[in-house]
Symmetry: C4
C-alpha cells in the first residue's frame, strides 16, 4: 500500500491539531480522552484518525494515523501505533455522510444534556439565534433532533447502529453518547469547530436556564 | 463614491478588532456570531461594520466594511463582501444615538437574564455598585431600564422598532434580544467595552444570587 | 512637599500592578472598578493609591499616586490626576492596621456571600483547611468573623466607621461591602494576594456547597 | 549523607514543576496550598517533596527538597528549608504503593464531592466513560471506591491511617480529605496528571448533574 499527503492534507491536519490543543484548555478532552479525524484530500478513501492515548494538550499533526475508511488498512510505516479506540465511529460517520472532519468531545455539558432525555432516542433544541451557526439553518425558528445512543464498549456495533440516523435531520451535525460525550462533524475543520461551538452553547443554555 | 480612513479610524478599528478577539475567549461570540461597528471619525455619515461569517477568534481590522449610515452604500472596493446580517440594527443605533461604537454579544447571561422578564418590554437593574460603570451614573442607588425585544429575522424592522426606545433611559446603553443576545454601545471602544462589562456583571449577579 | 521613591517602593508597585492586571482576567475589577494601594517603604506617612478610571487590564506602576496617609496631600507633579474615589477607605485601613498593601475586589462571590448574612454585621467562615492561608492561622478548626458594611457613597464616613472593627479578629484581613465587594489587606503584596485567594475560595465553597 | 540527581530525576522534576504552575491557573492550589512529590529514580529510598509556603504560580524545580522516604533525613544543603507540612502523607503513599508521583489538590470540587458522602468512609463513582482514564480500567461499567478521611492537623497519624486503604481498590488512585482536598497518585507525572483530571471531571459530573 502506498500513501501520499498533499498540501491541503497538511494544512488541514495542522489546523485540526491546533484546534485539539485549544479544546484541551476548555474541558473537551481531559485525561487523554477525545478523538479526531479528517478525510484525506489526496485520496478520498482514506482518513487521518488521531492516535490513542495522547495528552491532548500535547497533540500535534504527527499524532494522526492514515487509515482506509473501508478496510482500516494503514501503511507499514505506522505499524505498532494505534489509532483511537473509537476509530470505528469516525469511519462510520465518514462513510455515511459527506463530512470531512469529525470531532469527539467529552465536554460535561453533553453528558448532562443527554441525561435530560433519559430513555429517549432523540434530544431537541429550538428557538435560539445561535442555531443559525449550523450549516443551512437561516432562522432561530427551527427544531433540531439530535440522536442519543447509550454508551457501549462495542464500538464497531455502535458505528453500524449510528449510520442510519446520521442523515435523518439535515440540520443536525452531531450524535450524543450517554455518559460519554458527543460526536460532531462538518465539511472543514472550521465548520466542525463552528458546529461544536453551537452544541456547547445550546447545551449550556438549556442546562442553566432559569425559567 | 470615495472614502478615506484617517489615523483615528485606524486606531479605533485596531482597538475594536483586538477587543473582538478577546471577547471570543470569554463566550461573547461563538460560532462566528457577534457583530461590531464603529462610526468613522473622518466622515460621520459612515460607519465600519464587521464582515459576515468570520471566526471572531481570527477577526482583524481588515474585517470591517465601511457603509453609509443612511443609504448602506459602500465603496466598489468592497463589492462581493458582505457586512453582518444585523447591519441594520447597528445603523439604527448609530442613527438614533450619539454613540460611536456598537458591540453585539451572544453571551448566555443575556439570554438567561432576558428570560427572567418574559413578556415584559423592560428589564430592571439596581442597587449594585458597579452600575457606576455606566456613563453618568454616580451612585449605586439608581434603577436602570433595559429594553427587551423578541427575536426576529426581520432585522430592518427590528432596527426601526428599536430607535424610539434607545434614548428613553439616559443611563441605559444596551438593548436585550430574547433568545439571541444584547446590543451595547458607547462613545469609544473603551466606553462600549466598559458598558458591556457592567451588563455581564449585573446579569451574573442577578442570575446567581442566593437570596 | 518633596517625595522620593526607593528601590523597595519600585519593586512593590511593579508587583502590585502585575497583580492588578492578572486579577482583571478573573473578574475582580471589571469596568475600571477595583482599587489598590501600598504604603511607602521610603516614607511611612505616604501610600501609593491607584488612579481613578483606569481599565485594570491596562494598569501599570505609573497609575499610582503617592498621598500623605493623614492629610491626603500629594506632590505638585500629580496635579490634575485623581486617586480612586475610595481612597479614604484605603487610608483608613493603612491608618488603623499595620498592613502595607490593600486590595479592593468587586468579585461577585463577595456580593453573593455578603447577601447570605443580610442584616448582620459579621459573616463567619470556619472548618476549611484553606483558612490556614490567613496569617497566623494554624488549624482548620477556627471560626473567623468578617465585618460587613452596607454600601454607601459617603466614603470618608465609611472609612471612619470601619476603623474600630479592623482589628477585632486577629485572623481576619478583610471587610465586606454589601452589593459592592471586599477590601483585603496584608503586610506585602504576596500576603494580600494570598489573603484574597483564601476569601475567594471560602466564598465559592459556601456559595456552592451541596449539603 | 550524600545525594545525587540523575537525568530522569531532572526531567521528572521539571515536568512536575510545570504541572504545578499550570494547576495554579485552574484552582488546584490557591494561597500557596497544594503539595507535590516524586520518587527519585537514582535512589528509590528518596523522594523530592515540594517546599512549604511557595506561591504555586511561581513554583519551580528548585522548590523540591529530597528526603529519605523512611527517615525523612535530608542533605545538609537543605538545612533551614522546610518541605510541605503534609510531607508525611506523601511519604505514606510512596511507602504503601508503587506510585512514583503524588499530587495534592485543594480543588473545591473535591470538598463538595466529599460532603455528599458525609459520615461515610468511601465515596463511589461509576458508569462514566472517562473512568477509563484510570490505569487498568477498560470499561465505563465499573464502580470505584474512593476512601474519605476527616480533616486533621495530625499529619503523621493521618499518613499511618491511610496506608491500609491505599491498595483496597486496584482502580482507585486517590484519597479524599473532607473540607481539605484530594491526594492523587500515578507511576509518572503524566499518569498522576491523567488521574487528577479524571477525578476532577467525575466530581464535576456528579456535583452538577440534573437528573
Amino acid at each position: 500500500m502506498s500513501f501520499k499527503i498533499n498540501d491541503n492534507d497538511q494544512r488541514n491536519l495542522h489546523q485540526l491539531a491546533e484546534l485539539v490543543r485549544r479544546l484541551n484548555q476548555t474541558g473537551h478532552n481531559p485525561a487523554t480522552s477525545g478523538n479526531y479525524s479528517h478525510r484525506s484530500d489526496e485520496n478520498k478513501d482514506f482518513a487521518f484518525v488521531s492516535e490513542s492515548g495522547i495528552d491532548k494538550g500535547l497533540f500535534s499533526e504527527n499524532n494522526f494515523i492514515p487509515l482506509n475508511i473501508h478496510t482500516k488498512e494503514t501503511h507499514d510505516f505506522y505499524t505498532g501505533r494505534k489509532s483511537s479506540d473509537e476509530t470505528d465511529v469516525h469511519l462510520a460517520i465518514l462513510q455515511a455522510t459527506t463530512a470531512n472532519c469529525v470531532l469527539h468531545s467529552h465536554m460535561l455539558e453533553a453528558l448532562w444534556f443527554a441525561d435530560l432525555f433519559k430513555g429517549k432516542s432523540f434530544a431537541t433544541v429550538s428557538s435560539i439565534e445561535l442555531l443559525k451557526g449550523f450549516k443551512g439553518v437561516t432562522t432561530h425558528d427551527v427544531e433540531i433532533q439530535i440522536p442519543i445512543f447509550p454508551n457501549t464498549q462495542d464500538i464497531a456495533l455502535l458505528g453500524e447502529n449510528m449510520k442510519p440516523v446520521l442523515n435523518l435531520d439535515p440540520h443536525c451535525f452531531g450524535v450524543l453518547l450517554s455518559g460519554h460525550g458527543i460526536y460532531v462533524w462538518g465539511n472543514t475543520v472550521a465548520e466542525a469547530k463552528r458546529h461544536l461551538e453551537v452544541f456547547e452553547y445550546l447545551f449550556k443554555y438549556y442546562l442553566n436556564k432559569k425559567v
